[in-house]
Symmetry: C2
Subunit: 267 residues, 2 copies
């Protein structure tokens, strides 16, 4: 099964556009959980068990694992192994480099860590992205317009009559198909999301920024229309339980609420 | 000692602008070396021993280590530990993400892997770069104009009367000082290198693309003038010995030749 098929099937089976971002931070876990690699694995597994029938995908932000060094990569690998086989796994790694180097990154993420898709930075152009796209059974989510304030610095600079993020969209759509190329579009820009969707009807959008970053779920669904989407919430779901012993019940509730809220806006 | 000071001192002591890129690939090592993590560590250590009095810095391209999974990170860590304390270590990791995520990447590279500097992708703007710059004793090399053909796709797109890479340079120069902010400028663009140098007299340039990628050492030095520079060669040095038993002698010779060639053009 390709990463694209896995995503479609999980989305339908769980009737959900929700992606849960497993942004692990030792000090944000409930206080009764040991601040250790084992404690973080226990936390991730509880969150996965409590939410895997409510999501289409999990997003693994590599930075949060890399910050714990080699043992962090063990945590990353064991977390990935804990995700049910029928749920899509996004490596949110924001990679991208010259060809032979992107090849090595693709091998790391797709073959060593066995993720279904990866986020890639477009700055260095086509030959930095194509090694990821050459894995025909995997997916690339190219950064288009990100959710942070820094998106004003370059992404929203005008090149002729278009913004840089529009040039990125327009050029890169020719590099892949709707089955292996999607775009990252932040939930914090609903107006732009709408116009990006009009130019790219069939590609998946990975939409972060709902919840802790301030994006509104209803606005996102309205702007996105019926386009294929993965709507991510990280902190808003995984830390919903605060210091509660049964923290994962709260995460389940938060994921369920987001799923239903998105579905109500959709239909 | 800050990363900047370490770089200046190594550069003077070894009278060298050369950086050796330790782009390890099992199948490119001499055939008598075991294709294993231990074999690759042995290879890296021999290259480091043979060249550390001829360089200002080593560049560790994270992709080549990540491609071997968790054991690759052990190799990365042990390789870093094998580099003499007085030589600057560049984490060529091309990272960059929203603030809290860039924080975690900075912690990984500067605290866990104890590198002196990192390459960062500017696409996501200031708040994606500033967490790296907040480590005052470390350095950031921001991608400006890269050495690959894909640099034509976006970096060389015109925004008004300037190219995107010029906008990146101009805006980001305000984010850091000459002691903690440098730029990646590919050796394959000598004309542009010259004009970038004119706009940025005091910042270090990390210049890849000499050797295997086709950049010419003399052209680079001429274009760069007397600006502070790190001139990287990876494959051209580490694989100079082909299948020879004494491969590291050939690497030493290649590093020496590059150092002398750069110095002759400089003075």
């Amino acid at each position: 099964m390709t990463g694209f098929e896995k995503l479609k099937i999980a989305e339908e089976k769980n009737n959900s556009l929700v992606c849960v971002g497993l942004d692990i931070v030792a000090d944000r876990m409930p206080s009764h959980i040991e601040r250790s690699i084992d404690g973080m694995l226990q936390f991730n597994r509880e969150i996965i068990d409590a939410t895997s029938d409510l999501v289409s995908s999990y997003k693994i932000n590599f930075a949060f694992y890399e910050q714990y060094g080699i043992r962090g990569f063990e945590l990353l690998q064991k977390t990935i192994e804990s995700i049910p086989n029928d749920i899509h796994i996004i490596a949110d790694a924001k990679r991208g480099d010259i060809g032979n180097t992107s090849n090595a990154y693709a091998r790391a993420v797709f073959e060593e860590f066995e993720c279904d898709s990866i986020t890639v930075n477009p700055y260095m152009g086509e030959d930095s992205v194509s090694p990821f796209l050459s894995y025909k059974d995997k997916m690339v989510f190219l950064l288009c317009l990100t959710s942070n304030s820094g998106s004003n610095d370059f992404e929203k600079q005008k090149i002729g009559s278009d913004y840089l993020y529009e040039i990125v969209l327009e050029k890169s759509m020719k590099w892949g198909s709707a089955e292996n190329l999607g775009f990252v579009v932040g939930a914090t820009h609903p107006n732009e999301l709408k116009s990006i969707r009009e130019k790219s009807n069939y590609n998946y959008f990975l939409i972060p920024g709902v919840g802790a970053q301030g994006g509104n779920a209803e606005d996102v669904v309205e702007a996105n229309g019926n386009g294929p989407a993965i709507i991510n919430s990280s902190r808003g779901i995984i830390y919903a339980g605060g210091n509660e012993k049964k923290y994962s019940d709260f995460s389940r509730l938060a994921a369920l609420e987001l799923r239903n809220q998105l579905n109500e806006s959709r239909y």
